[in-house]
């Protein structure tokens, strides 16, 4: 009976974590990066994960991406355990990591080249994506000729272009200045409004987490676990430039902040 119920929820969630834990063994001690984590992510959700630095947020993403195997528990994607990397799970890192030897267009079209999409189609699709993020005209530029914000836009569209069913983002706007961040948040949201793909977005910035997410997940200081899981009821499309004055935003922000502050405090005392 109980098993049947589990099977039922599994089939509904696009991605699920059941009792997942991850330990790293150092030279003389074990570090618990993540402990006893249960999480369900449904298709089309925009999930943001926020927590103090070093709380195992990146470990969570690496487990979902299949770059690491959990020490305990199972990560399931479409009901099947995740073993190794899978092209249907996209991953956008904090460092843009565009290939320096390829032009912006070829970087963006690279995932299509891997599966043998003809050059003409590749270029057309890369062009239309670059246009959507305001990079038309920079197709032939090499990464070193672009600003940090432009490279990060390129990094985002080179994952969107091959339409993975779930997109993981690890503090993608972390290294950018405040104005560039907001403008990229806006671009991301406007694209997401039209694609409604499933996103797991990690950030240390609570404002960003609430502004972007359908659900905000708060993680504790190490050893990391999920402390809160709040639905964000603010209607879409949202305006990231003015969302901070929204009363719902303020209420949720203050509520989560209480717990986040406690976690940051605890982390600092460790």
């Amino acid at each position: 009976m109980n098993n049947d119920l589990n099977a039922q929820t599994r089939s509904n969630a696009l991605l699920s974590m059941e009792g997942v834990a991850k330990q790293f063994s150092g030279r003389d001690r074990q570090v618990v990066a993540l402990q006893n984590t249960d999480l369900e992510i449904f298709a089309g959700e925009f999930i943001t994960v926020v927590g103090p630095s070093g709380c195992g947020k990146s470990t969570l993403l690496n487990l979902i991406a299949g770059l690491m195997a959990p020490s305990e528990g199972t990560v399931r994607f479409k009901g099947k355990p995740v073993v190794g990397v899978d092209r249907s799970i996209g991953y956008i890192t904090q460092q843009d990591n565009l290939f320096p030897w390829l032009t912006l267009r070829d970087n963006v079209a690279f995932p299509l080249e891997l599966v043998g999409v003809p050059e003409k189609e590749r270029h057309d699709r890369a062009h239309s994506w670059l246009e959507r993020v305001g990079l038309a005209g920079f197709e032939k530029a090499y990464p070193h000729e672009l600003s940090g914000g432009m490279r990060q836009r390129g990094n985002i569209v080179r994952t969107l272009i091959y339409e993975p069913s779930i997109i993981l983002m690890d503090e993608p706007f972390g290294p950018l200045d405040a104005q560039t961040r907001i403008s990229l948040q806006e671009t991301l949201l406007s694209i997401w409004e039209s694609t409604r793909s499933t996103v797991v977005f990690i950030t240390h910035d609570l404002t960003e987490a609430i502004a972007l997410g359908d659900r905000v997940i708060l993680m504790s200081a190490r050893p990391g676990r999920i402390v809160r899981d709040d639905k964000v009821e603010i209607s879409r499309p949202r305006d990231v430039f003015f969302i901070q004055s929204d009363p719902q935003f303020r209420r949720l922000y203050d509520e989560i902040w209480q717990d986040l502050a406690a976690q940051v405090h605890e982390h600092a005392n460790h």
Binding site: N97, F99, F110, L114
Partner: protein, 287 residues
């Protein structure tokens, strides 16, 4: 002669930063730099010319006017062109064989970790042999014709290319490989589309560094035993105490090498235009 530094540790193309001098003398200052260079050249040649027969013995050091006159005479001598042709062919073949073998083996061993670790000390040992010491034996093994010179040039080029290629493939940023893997690249695609392009800057830099060594190898070979070639001609002049002729050939070799290096630099800048420009500038500055 053994000027080869340890090619096991080639200068990393990634780590070179623009020398301070070239940063300061960019732009309008460049004209004054060029003026300075012309003045230095004139001073050097002038001192040599005017001091010849007064300060320096012309028998030992000749003089610029005589050297230029001799060089002019050589340019109308078919024998000179034949020697130039022989040396060029030997140099080209040695460079091509050495480079191809070095790149192929470098790539192969970068993929084959076990073999690479086994043969590593042996390659180091081979490269530690002063090539000039083996030159006489090469004559015994390969005879006095072109093949011994080609082989000598190839061995010098080979090790530079081999170590550069190996380091290039090994120094690929792991994050690039992970990105490609997440995007669905097979191991083969990661190799051909990420590791090789990333290593290309090392390989191209190696091709540039090893070019002068191809000429060195050929000239040494020609010094040993030969009946043709620029090295033969140079050796002939110096053993017959014709310092003017010898210096003329040396200066010709210098000009030849500078011209080749300029061409290779242009090709390199074109192929590596994706690299941040200050890195390319630093490479050019060294020449």
């Amino acid at each position: 002669m053994q000027t080869i530094k340890n090619p096991a540790m080639p200068s990393s193309p990634k780590k070179t930063s623009k020398p301070l001098a070239s940063r300061i003398f960019d732009g309008e200052n460049m004209r004054s730099v060029q003026l300075g260079r012309i003045l230095l050249t004139l001073f050097f040649i002038g001192t040599w010319q005017l001091g010849a027969g007064r300060i320096f013995e012309t028998f030992y050091f000749s003089k610029p006017s005589a050297i230029i006159a001799h060089l002019w005479k050589e340019l109308f001598d078919t024998g000179f062109y034949y020697d130039l042709w022989i040396t060029s062919v030997e140099m080209f073949l040695g460079y091509a064989f050495g480079a191809i073998a070095g790149i192929v083996l470098g790539v192969a061993l970068s993929r084959w970790e076990y073999v690479s670790r086994v043969v590593d000390p042996f390659l180091l040992a081979l490269n530690s042999i002063p090539r000039i010491a083996v030159a006489p034996l090469l004559i015994v093994w390969f005879g006095i014709d072109m093949s011994s010179k080609v082989f000598l040039a190839a061995t010098l080029v080979f090790f530079i290319m081999f170590f550069n290629t190996l380091s290039g493939v090994r120094s690929v940023n792991r994050a690039y490989c992970d990105i490609a893997r997440i995007q669905g690249a097979s191991e083969r695609q990661i190799f051909t589309k990420v590791m090789l392009p990333s290593a290309s800057s090392w390989i191209i830099t190696g091709l540039k560094m090893s070019l002068p060594f191809a000429l060195v190898g050929v000239i040494i070979g020609e010094f040993m035993v030969s009946s043709h070639g620029l090295g033969y001609r140079l050796n002939y002049y110096s053993t017959s105490y014709n310092t003017t002729g010898a210096l003329a050939i040396i200066i010709f070799m210098m000009i030849l090498m500078m011209a080749l290096t300029t061409v290779v630099d242009k090709i390199e800048a074109r192929l590596l235009r994706w690299r941040p420009s200050h890195l390319n500038a630093a490479e050019n500055f060294k020449v």
